[in-house]
Symmetry: C2
Subunit: 408 residues, 2 copies
């Protein structure tokens, strides 16, 4: 059961002029489910992305980087689930390119105007023939108000589709943003999440769009973790069609800031949806580390806490066994940390004071907070002004069941 | 059920002349179980240790470091379970010192000749009165052939006591070594394990003993992980009573090498016992990384694989979902890794060749190995001659149950 994650309603997902989405069923891993998504992007749009830093990055990620670098103007995205096309060597690269070739031919564009994405099992070859065979069907049903179906088409172990929209006023014009994401395991994005796509009808110059996508990723998909496993396929892409008439040419000023806020807030919502629907998740934990010397050490400590299986199982059990959090802070690798300055809160409950148990802390107060579905862990280091926030979920029996059974 | 871990038999555990062990029941956390161990060490013995690098190191660890540095000659160890005396501030330090004071008074030695150790729950004060009250009982039943009872007295979530012995011929004399260890969760030692003690009747000069304990720790307790959580209390101590007549004064030469081999091999056995009895463990995995530029990067990759919840659950399920191993290799943080040179074996089965699936690999072969209780994962990086080995266990439903219920 996802944590406070209502099903998205189609009527709340706003079409973005210049962007059409179509799906198909290719039976790549399982029959009778949407597993292919084609996104068509109007001519003149800009597109920017960030991708996994895993050295074993998947074939489609390599092709995405090449095609974005070509500067031709991206006109279409093609996404499949059921197979990650990772650890597949030269044949995997050829299959990713063949997919782009096939879609380009049907849309009368060039191959390097197509971005391919895959997600699913690693170390198996992509059944490219089955994928190519359904591209005409996906093109045929592409339309602007297909965001919910698009979110469904990219699900793997997700229990719910993930999609959201925003509108923002820029220079007197209404700018719309809609986005989708997927992912529930192998989630510890390093540059971007499993798959996230946001489209807006603002007009955004390419370097500005790249700045936007990096900023939004750092404050959303790059700040979540479920199991600490950085995927081979993480990709987050931002599309700007320009159809609203609002134009942003510089990475500064009020128009840029308004759009950055909207993109970042939408990306955060989509990223948190991934954690809320994390494999086996029963709780959403916000790990906030403040008072650090720099953001890097705050993130390092936040991730140590977020990845600790002992911390995660204690939250699952609603057991205020909070020494486990201090242990994780201690082994996070900040070698000159003065633990006598460390303070710890669970929501409003002051648990550890100056490195030890707060004399006023009552276990019943900790217990009360631990029973909640959403909990903020706040760790103050007392050595500077930097801060960072990471979102994660607990570790439950269902996480083990899901990952012990995933392929069977 | 521990993995291939027979119960130690008392008759196989050899007394070490000059070392006596006595236990008691203090009811520190639970009634009617051995939870205090006193180890008496003959005058003239040398003692050396390595301790956790967790910044939140426990009060007894701080006191151990002080007392070893005093150079007075350690004459006794006192160990309690049920409470880690960590995250306990100044009162925790005072309690650790009070324990040493009480034991020293009873044994007519000085306080800094006592080393204290604690293991159990973090962030709660040690019930020092209950601990001190049973010290006379522990002293009264101390004897040289108490190694099995000693191993039982330091257990927490361990399902079995862990103890082993060795003999080695040095300069025509028979040298005996016996050791005990404990730990089943919060196991990712960084300098030493939860608790490990080895005694020998060799005579070993203090700096030589320190070299021995560091070497043995690096190749045993510092190469295991269960859940990646580095404890606040890890301690590994080596005691040399000198009663055998064999004397080792220099950290080189055949006598030193014979003793180093015996200590390291015993420490490895004790460390592997911890993994075999890891919380919820059903399998023992040996992760061997070779062909690295240096040992550090081999260890970094081995630990990334050993800590991946996705890898660990796949082993639990006997599912040869081996792309998860490549993903972990890829995100381990070796930024210039050329994945096209990476090869992967599961025991004798060649799974990945030059960064992709080995064309000759058959899933049924992977399946056969995955069903075993002990599995070696061998990863060849193809960039140098360094190598490292890490031992770990799988992640099962029982791990979650044990840690969700630990305090309740």
């Amino acid at each position: 059961m996802p944590v406070n994650l209502p099903l998205p309603q189609a009527e709340n997902l706003k079409p973005v002029a210049g962007v059409e989405l179509g799906w198909a069923e290719a039976g790549i891993r399982k029959a009778n489910r949407k597993d292919v998504l084609v996104v068509r992007v109007a001519e003149g749009s800009t597109v920017a992305g960030v991708f996994t830093r895993n050295r074993f990055c998947a074939a489609p990620v390599q092709v995405c980087r090449e095609h974005l670098a070509s500067g031709k103007g991206i006109r279409a995205l093609v996404i499949n689930t059921g197979n990650a096309n990772a650890g597949t060597g030269h044949l995997g690269l050829a299959n990713a390119r063949a997919t782009c070739d096939a879609l380009a031919a049907k849309l009368h564009i060039s191959t390097d105007q197509v971005l391919p994405f895959s997600t699913g099992v690693i170390l198996e070859q992509l059944p490219v023939d089955r994928l190519v065979a359904v591209l005409p069907a996906a093109i045929a049903n592409a339309k602007p108000d297909n965001w919910l179906a698009a979110a469904e088409a990219i699900m793997t172990t997700d229990t719910q589709p993930k999609a959201a929209s925003r509108t923002v006023q820029i220079d007197g014009k209404t700018v719309t943003l809609s986005g989708i994401s997927k992912g529930a395991g192998m989630i510890r994005p390093n540059m971007a999440t499993m798959l996230g796509f946001i489209a807006t009808d603002a007009a955004v110059a390419q370097p500005v769009l790249q700045a936007l996508v990096s900023h939004a990723a750092d404050h959303s998909f790059n700040s979540i973790t479920i199991d600490g496993d950085t995927s081979t396929n993480d990709s987050f892409v931002l599309i700007a069609s320009g159809k609203s008439g609002a134009a942003i040419d510089r990475a500064e000023g009020p128009a840029f800031e308004a759009l950055r806020e909207a993109v970042t807030s939408l990306a955060q919502e989509l990223a948190q949806m991934i954690v809320r629907d994390g494999e086996g998740a029963t709780k959403l934990m916000t790990i906030r580390v403040e008072g650090g010397k720099d953001v890097a050490e705050c993130r390092q400590i936040a991730y140590a806490v977020a990845h600790s299986p002992l911390v995660k199982t204690a939250f699952y059990a609603s057991d205020p066994n909070l020494g486990r959090i201090l242990a994780a802070v201690g082994y996070a690798g900040v070698d000159d940390l003065d633990v006598d300055r460390v303070n710890l809160w669970l929501d409003d409950v002051w648990v550890a004071r100056d490195g030890g148990r707060n004399p006023d802390y009552l276990e019943e107060d900790g217990q009360r907070v631990m029973k909640q579905a959403e909990i903020t862990v706040r760790i103050a280091l007392g050595r500077g002004n930097a801060e960072a926030t990471v979102w994660t979920c607990d570790l439950s029996h269902d996480y083990v069941s899901i990952n012990a059974d995933y392929r069977s």
